[in-house]
Amino acid sequence: MRPAAMPAATAATVAPAAKPARARSTFYFVWRALISDRFALLGTVIVGGFILTAIFAPWIAPYGPDDADPALRLQGMGTEGHIFGLDNHGRDVLSRLIYGTRLSLIAGLAPVLLGGIIAVPLGLIAAYYERFGHLIMRVMDVLFAFPMVLLAIMLAFFLGPGLENLVIALVVVLVPYNTRVVYVQALAERELGYVEAARAAASSDLRIMFGEMLPHVVAASVVYSMTIVGTIIVTAAGLSFLGLGVQPPTAEWGIMTSEGRTVLHIAPHASTLPGIAIFLLVIGFNLVGDALRDALDPRTRLVRVKLARGEQTSPEAEPDPVPRVPV
C-alpha cells in the first residue's frame, strides 16, 4: 500500500522550505571545469601559454624566423644565444618554434570552427527532413570509408600547397564526423515535447530547427569540436611533414621535423624539439577538451556534484568514453 496523496494544504506548508535550485549558466560550468580539476587546469595553462606565445611571437622570439647564421648551423642545444640550437640553415630553433605556434593554432582551430559552422545546420536539416537526412548520411558513409589522414592527404595533394588549401582540406575531413554528432543529437531532440509544442504552435520548419533545436544541439558539436582540435593539429603538422599544405621555408612544426629528419644523426634537436611542441599543444587541447566534455554533459555534471559530496555514483552514470577519431 502506498501512502495516500498529500492534501494540498500540506504541500503549501512544505513549499517555502525547499529552496529553488539556482540556475547556473553554461559559462559557469565551463569555467568550473577548467579550473577545478588538476589536469584540466594544466591543459588550460598549456593552451593559454601557447596562445599568448602566438600573439606575442615577435616580442618573445630572440631572432626572426628566417634569420640565419650559417657559421653556427646545426649547433646543438645550449649554444650561446641559442638555447634550443640551430637548424641546418643556421636558423634559431627556438624562434622558429615560437613563430610556428601561430600556424599550428590556426591550422588546428580554423578548420574546427569552420567545420562546426557547416556541420551544425547540415546535421539539423538532415535530422529534420528524413529523406534528405538519409541521402546526406549515405554521402558521409563514403567519406567515412577513408581514414582521416588519408582523405586529408588526398585533398591537400589535389588542392595544391598553401595554408588556405590546408584548412579547406581539413574542413572537408572534419565535417562528416561533426555532422554525425549533430545529426544523432538532433534526431533525439526531434522526438521531445518542446519540438512538438512548437509544431503545434504552427512555427515554421526553419524556426523550429534554428530557433528551438539549435541551442540544444550546439553543445554536442562544441564538445566534439574541442576533443578533436588536438587530432587536427597533429594531422595538419603531418601534412606539412609530407610536403603538403604549408611549404618551406615557413616556420612550421611539421616542416621543421621533416627538415630536421635528414640531419637526425648529427643534430637530433632539430627534428625532435618541434615534435615536443606539437605533443605539448595537443596534450593541452585534449585535457581541455575532456574537461569541457565533462562540464557540458548533464549526466557527468551530476556525477561530479555527487563525487564532490562524497556520495556513491553508479558506474553507468560515468561519461561514455568518447573515442577520439584516430588519425
Binding site: 563514403v142 575532456d290 577520439r324
Partner: protein, 314 residues
C-alpha cells in the same frame, strides 16, 4: 550468420562505388590546367601530353569516369610516371609489406590494450586507473612521425639495438628473424595511437558491464575478483573489444604512411609519399584507392567476425 554476412557485404558495395567516385573526382579539385598544375616543375610538353591522354581529359567527365572504372575493373590503374610501370603491378608488389606491418602492429595493440583496459576498469577510480587513463591520453596525443623519429634516434642511432631502415639487412639478409628485428620499431610506432583508443573504449565498456546486476550476483556468490572480471565481465565486452580492434586494422594500415617514411619500410605508405613528391598522379590515386578499399574490407570483416562472436545476437 551467413545472412548477416551477405547483407553486410551488400551494404559495402555502394560505399565502394562511392569511394571510386571520390578518388576519381578528387582530380577535379585541381585548379587551372590539370596537367600543368599537377606536374608543376616536372612539367614537360611530353609528360603533359602523356598525362592528358592517360586521364582522358579531352572527354566529358562521366565518360572519363566510365573509362576509369572500366579499366579499374580490369585491374588497370594506369601507368606510373615515376616508375614507368603499371600502377596495379607496383601496388600488388608493395601491399604485402604494408600488411605485414599492419599485422605486427595489431599483434601489439590487441594484448596491450586488453591488459591496460581491463586493469583500469578493475581498478576503477584508483591511482592505477587514473595513471592508465593518463597514459592513454599521452599516447593519443603523440604525433606518430615524432614518436618514430625519437625511437629511431634512441634505439637505432644511439644504442644500436634495432636497424635504422628497411625490411631486411641488405648486406646479409637473414630471413624471418631479420624481418622481426626490422619490424619492432615500426610496429610499435604504428600501434601507439590505436593502443590508446582501444584501451579507452575497453575500459569504458567493462566499467559499464561491471556495474550490472549479474556481476553483483557473481560477487555475492563469493567468486574471486579475477574470475568475476575475466570470466563474467570480459565475456560481454568481447564484441566491443573485437569491433574496436577490427576498426584499427584500417587505421593502422592507413596510418602506417608516416611510419613507413621514417623507417623506410617499402610499403604503400612510402610509395604514396614518393608519388606525392614526384607528382605521380596515377600512382597517388592508386595508393589512396588501395588503402581505402583495404579499410572498407577490414571494417566489413570485423563486423562479420564481431557478429559471430556475439552469442546474444545469434
Amino acid at each position: 550468420m551467413w545472412k548477416f554476412a551477405g547483407i553486410r557485404t551488400l551494404h559495402a558495395i555502394p560505399v565502394l562505388i562511392g569511394v571510386t567516385f571520390v578518388v576519381f573526382g578528387s582530380l577535379q579539385l585541381v585548379p587551372g590546367d590539370i596537367a600543368n598544375t599537377l606536374l608543376s616543375m616536372f612539367y614537360t610538353e611530353e609528360r603533359g601530353e602523356a598525362l592528358r591522354a592517360q586521364l582522358g581529359l579531352d572527354k566529358p567527365l562521366l565518360v572519363q569516369y566510365g573509362i576509369w572504372v572500366w579499366n579499374l575493373l580490369h585491374g588497370d590503374l594506369g601507368q606510373s610516371m615515376m616508375l614507368r610501370q603499371p600502377v596495379a603491378e607496383v601496388l600488388l608488389d608493395k601491399i604485402g609489406n604494408s600488411l605485414i606491418l599492419t599485422g605486427a602492429s595489431l599483434l601489439i595493440v590487441i594484448p596491450v590494450s586488453f591488459l591496460l583496459g581491463t586493469t583500469a576498469a578493475r581498478r576503477f577510480r584508483t591511482a592505477t586507473d587514473r595513471s592508465i587513463v593518463f597514459f592513454a591520453m599521452l599516447l593519443a596525443s603523440l604525433p606518430v612521425f615524432w614518436l618514430g623519429i625519437v625511437l629511431l634516434y634512441l634505439l637505432g642511432v644511439n644504442i644500436k639495438w634495432f636497424p635504422m631502415s628497411g625490411m631486411y639487412n641488405m648486406a646479409n639478409p637473414g630471413g624471418f628473424p631479420d624481418l622481426i628485428h626490422h619490424l619492432v620499431l615500426p610496429a610499435v610506432t604504428t600501434a601507439a595511437t590505436s593502443v590508446a583508443i582501444v584501451t579507452r573504449v575497453t575500459r569504458g565498456a567493462l566499467i559499464d558491464t561491471l556495474g550490472q546486476p549479474y556481476i553483483l550476483s557473481a560477487r555475492a556468490r563469493g567468486l574471486s575478483d579475477f574470475r568475476v572480471t575475466y570470466r563474467h565481465g570480459v565475456r560481454n565486452v568481447m564484441p566491443t573489444f573485437a569491433n574496436m580492434c577490427g576498426l584499427q586494422i584500417g587505421y593502422l594500415f592507413g596510418g602506417s604512411i608516416f611510419t613507413e617514411i621514417i623507417f623506410n619500410w617499402p610499403g604503400i605508405g612510402l610509395l604514396l609519399y614518393n608519388a606525392i613528391l614526384q607528382r605521380d598522379v596515377p600512382m597517388v590515386q592508386g595508393c589512396i584507392l588501395a588503402i581505402a578499399v583495404v579499410f572498407v574490407l577490414a571494417n566489413l570483416l570485423a563486423d562479420i567476425i564481431v557478429y559471430g562472436l556475439d552469442v546474444r545476437r545469434r
